[in-house]
């Protein structure tokens, strides 16, 4: 089968999966297939809800790849393998199956970055080391849980919190939560992974990790401190993700850091869900879980869209630095799709990202007035951090969209599958935002399974907004706040329409650019756009400036990355020595060999 055809088949297949997931979610399908004590498949509304999100990404990305990747067979194989591995993780109901899927994700990820030509072997190797660390931590959790429950199948029990936390750490690594951001941006930026690979890394695999966290948290019984810890880690990740995203100059590193930021937000939601459940605030727990799902869905859509935007930009200009973009790769779909996705990621209503961000801040607001002093304090700090990070994300999103769409008057690129997919993601995230109340209806029963309250209780109506279109949060004293994304959309649409209509055909004067009367010599580039941030936050960026031989240079660093890379280099050096002594062959092939063996052993155990 040709590469293109594989993507065509993939598009159809993954769309069918999405449709099935939708059907399963509507019907609330719940069943399990237990083959042996080691091998079991679970299907429940949580699975369906996440499968819907993730398979939508698969389907659209596959369609995107029809035009994007026309001949790289290894890339196509890795792409479909990664999807298969994710599917295994999602459906698994027992540890061995789960681990083989997890390991499959790591290996296919490694293949997506490792077998690209002309790159040094440290990035994929480091990626692999952290991937294995993640698996190791999950194995520790699995073993611990096995000792407590006596079975490899996921069953609900009050598991040991330390064991649980170690496993969650393993998922953190996959999500790229600070300080494990290395697994997120490293393969994408340094490894220069393909765009469809990056989308799987950033939009799909992080969502799989989030699903896994939820899966294991809901079968165990974590304490309040656990939730607060998650919130704290999430806030930390959110802030630093947004800070480093704003300064990123690499076209794929910027969205990758943005994923770290959004992963942080999803962790805060998760933590808040746990804390609210323990405090008995079931209405707000419902609100938080609904918010988490909306946030995760819109992040998956718009982040895929943003990577597509970056991929189109990169392919048509042949450069990876945002500052070297001068337009020319534009079409209407490209501009519109890029706009909708970046605006959603910047957290603007009525798009999905905006609804999610509002729900996040609202949840934290309510938590800060619940009366529990520790919760209040944590919520205020986390809320302030989230708001700050959300604000900074506007810089990164305006930067990538603004510089990426510069020169939009130079139209003329054909609208192919790539640009159609980009726009589809944009429209998707817009509809998700505007009709988020409908989405809450859809997941209502699934949420009731965890909180005991149907999510429809957070949908109300007030004033001119009819019942069913107002998302409402609740404090202990009753309704607290609300927004109606649909009405926000209508309001914006109405006024924009009125303005456009009333000024249509108005006398306007067209002028040429004015640059002091001379030829425009220099344009503001993206580096300068974000540089005031680099200078004012020099403590976070470790900004250094120097002048050597008349040349100025300025450098910034991801402070956490410096530590990680130091450790990684040490590990690599050690591994080299060991590698040479044990097996005098190619390091890369050796590592691959170990991985495949490991997987084989896993599969064997499972059967």
């Amino acid at each position: 089968m040709s590469v293109t055809n594989s993507y065509r088949v993939g598009t159809v297949l993954y769309s069918l999966i999405a449709a099935t997931a939708f059907y399963a979610l509507v019907t609330g399908a719940t069943f399990s297939i237990v083959v042996t004590n080691y091998l079991a498949f679970f299907v429940d509304p949580l699975f369906s809800a996440f499968l819907l999100i993730i398979s939508t990404v698969w389907a659209v990305t596959s369609f995107f790849s029809i035009e994007y990747d026309r001949k790289s067979r290894p890339n196509a194989i890795s792409f479909h393998l990664a999807i298969l591995a994710m599917m295994v993780v999602l459906t698994s109901g027992s540890f061995p199956l789960f681990l083989s899927g997890w390991e499959g994700m790591t290996i296919s990820g490694y293949l997506l970055i490792g077998y690209r030509k002309g790159m040094n072997n440290i990035p994929p190797y480091v990626f692999l080391v952290y991937g294995e660390l993640s698996t190791l931590l999950i194995i520790v959790m699995g073993v611990g849980m096995y000792f407590q429950s006596g079975t490899m199948i996921f069953i609900a029990a009050p598991y040991n919190e330390v064991i649980l936390f170690l496993g969650i750490m393993g998922f953190f690594i996959k999500m790229g939560v600070m300080p494990f951001q290395i697994t997120e941006w490293l393969p994408i930026a340094h490894g220069n992974a393909s765009t469809n690979g990056s989308i799987l890394f950033s939009a799909a695999m992080t969502t799989v990790a989030l699903y896994s966290i939820l899966r294991f948290l809901t079968i165990s019984d974590p304490g309040e401190i656990f939730g607060l810890l998650l919130m704290g880690i999430g806030a930390f990740s959110l802030l630093f993700g947004s800070i480093y995203s704003a300064s990123a100059e690499h076209v794929k590193m910027l969205p990758a850091y943005s994923t770290i930021e959004n992963s942080g937000a999803m962790l805060i939601f998760t933590g808040a869900f746990i804390v609210l459940g323990i405090l008995g605030q079931m209405q707000m727990a419902t609100f938080a879980l609904a918010g988490l799902l909306i946030f995760a869905f819109s992040h998956a859509l718009s982040k895929s869209g943003l990577f597509m935007f970056a991929g189109i930009m990169e392919q048509s200009s042949g450069a990876t630095e945002i500052k070297s973009y001068h337009g020319g790769s534009n079409s209407t779909f490209y501009g519109a799709g890029g706009f909708l996705n970046s605006v959603s990621l910047a957290g603007m209503l009525p798009l999905g990202g905006g609804v999610g961000e509002w729900m996040l801040l609202e949840t934290l607001f309510v938590m800060s007035i619940l009366g529990d002093s520790v919760t209040s304090l944590v919520s205020i700090i986390v809320g302030a951090t989230a708001a700050l990070g959300g604000g900074i994300s506007i810089i990164s999103m305006t930067k990538i969209f603004g510089f990426g769409s510069r020169g939009s008057h130079e139209k003329g690129k054909k609208e192919g599958p790539m640009r159609i997919s980009l726009l589809a993601m944009g429209i998707g995230v817009t509809l998700l935002g505007a009709f988020s109340t409908l989405y809450v209806f859809l997941v209502s029963n699934m949420i009731r399974g965890y909180t005991g309250i149907a999510a429809t209780t957070i949908i109300n109506g007030a004033l001119v907004v009819p019942h069913g279109f107002l998302l409402t949060s609740f404090s202990s004293a009753g309704p607290f706040g609300g927004i109606s994304p649909l009405f926000t959309a209508l309001f914006i649409g109405l006024f924009t329409g009125i303005l456009l209509l009333s000024f249509r055909g108005a006398r306007s004067r067209t002028v040429v650019n004015w640059s002091g009367g001379i030829e425009e010599e220099n344009k503001l580039h993206s580096f300068a756009y974000a540089n005031s941030l680099r200078l004012t936050m020099r403590r976070f960026y470790l900004t250094t400036e120097e002048r050597k031989a008349g040349k100025y240079s300025e450098r910034t660093f991801d402070a956490f990355w410096l530590v990680i890379i130091f450790l990684a280099r040490k590990t690599v050096a050690l591994s080299r020595i060991v590698g040479r002594k044990v097996m005098n062959s190619s390091l890369m092939a050796y590592v691959l060999y170990i991985m495949v063996t490991f997987l084989a052993v896993m599969v064997y155990i499972a059967i």
Partner: protein, 408 residues
């Protein structure tokens, strides 16, 4: 020994290898110097208007300001090299509006009219310098009343220019009441000049051996005094404005031996061409030179504020001594030959003029205006300042772009 004895204050390219160079701020004398010996020097570069400084490096943003923009009164282009907000270096390109003003080859009368239009706001200084140079070549003793008349015209011009500089600073700091009052004050002064001299910028008044038109000096000092008193009232309020002082304090700080005028005096250097008697004697006018320290825009402004009052005092003394100012005759004398260099303290500082006369025609003329030095001061001093300090650094030096082109 004078301050800055070995400082290059004028570079005359007489053709061929090397330059004729004038050193120090005393009575100008010229020395032939090989080109390689001086070309790297800052003071040399300032005199010839060479600004080759530029910051290079990855991600340094070079953006241009000008040549024509609403923020600049006269046309000049600045290449500003920045990292975000901070200016790493600045390279002015003043050549855009270089008019290549042709003065050599013309008769004295036409030369005088053209020199007036070399820099309109400073016309009495330059036409006065040319007139004094010609008179001196002719061997005529300068008439004492004519000298006093020129002193009065110059000092009024100085007050007007200084008020303008401070008004521009107030404008930059959004001190709108102050800036409107100061601009009104300057308008009042221009109207006073027009009433007494027939022209707001002293055009057509300076002649050789006398004034072309009769001017009314009676009571001029009290009118000027009233304006200066009003200025003091505005200044007292302005100097109490934290917003205003914050913007100019510590802005564009620079200390160099080759600086002239208020910039030099603001860095504590005791130089003023009025102390020399090279063309206009001030010795009987009891000149007090204002000095300040700090070398920043605030210090320069304080020097200017002081000088406004000092000028008013000088005008008072000069008016008390003036009697009958001679009227210039038509200069048809063709046997005027010789070469002379004269120096004057314009509001921006020491300006140098060298004139060669042959048969009543200007054969060669060279002017090294104070704006050249001041633009160099700006280019060096604005480094490491923020972009928002640009206005204060630039306006605080009172640079006239029209001067920079020089004359041919």
């Amino acid at each position: 020994m004078m301050v800055g004895e070995d400082v290059i204050t004028g570079v005359f390219d007489s053709g061929g290898r090397g330059y004729e160079v004038s050193y120090g701020f005393g009575i100008p004398s010229w020395k032939k110097v090989a080109d390689h010996a001086i070309e790297g020097r800052e003071d040399f570069k300032a005199c010839v208007g060479k600004y080759d400084d530029k910051a290079e490096g990855a991600d340094v943003l070079n953006f241009t300001y000008g040549p024509s923009t609403g923020g600049l009164t006269e046309s000049i282009k600045f290449n500003i090299y920045t990292y975000g907000e901070r200016i790493l270096s600045l390279r002015p390109e003043p050549s855009y509006k270089d008019r290549k003003l042709q003065v050599s080859g013309s008769g004295l009368e036409m030369a005088n009219l053209r020199i007036e239009r070399y820099c309109g706001p400073l016309s009495p200084f330059y036409s006065g310098m040319l007139a004094a140079a010609v008179e001196s070549v002719m061997g005529a003793d300068q008439d004492n009343d004519l000298r006093l008349a020129r002193v009065i015209m110059n000092e009024i011009s100085r007050i007007s220019d200084h008020i303008h500089v401070i008004a521009k600073l107030a404008e930059g700091a959004s001190q709108n009441v102050a800036y409107n009052l100061l601009f009104a004050l300057r308008e009042k002064l221009l109207r006073l000049i027009a009433r007494r001299f027939g022209h707001r910028y002293f055009f057509g008044i300076n002649g050789f051996g006398g004034l072309v038109r009769s001017a009314n000096f009676k009571g001029i000092s009290s009118e000027v005094r009233a304006i200066v008193d009003e200025f003091r009232q505005i200044w007292i309020r302005l100097e109490n404005s934290r917003i205003f002082i914050d913007r100019i304090q510590g802005t564009a700080t620079l200390k160099r031996a080759w600086m002239v005028g208020p910039a030099a005096r603001a860095s504590g250097t005791h130089i003023d061409a009025r102390m020399e008697s090279s063309f206009l004697r001030y010795d009987d006018l009891d000149l007090h030179v204002s000095i300040s320290s700090g070398a920043d825009t605030l210090a320069r402004t304080l020097v200017r504020v002081d000088e406004i009052s000092e000028s008013a005092r000088i005008i008072e003394r000069a008016e008390s001594m003036i009697r009958e100012v001679p009227v210039a005759g038509r200069t048809t004398k063709s046997e005027v030959n010789g070469e002379i260099s004269v120096r004057a303290e314009t509001p921006g500082g020491d300006s140098l003029m060298r004139v060669t006369l042959a048969k009543g025609i200007i054969e060669k003329i060279y002017i090294r205006p104070s704006s050249l030095q001041n633009l160099a001061v700006f280019a060096y001093a604005i480094r490491e300042n923020l972009l928002t300090d640009f206005t204060f650094g630039y306006e605080g030096l009172g640079i006239h772009i029209s001067e920079l082109g020089g004359v041919l």
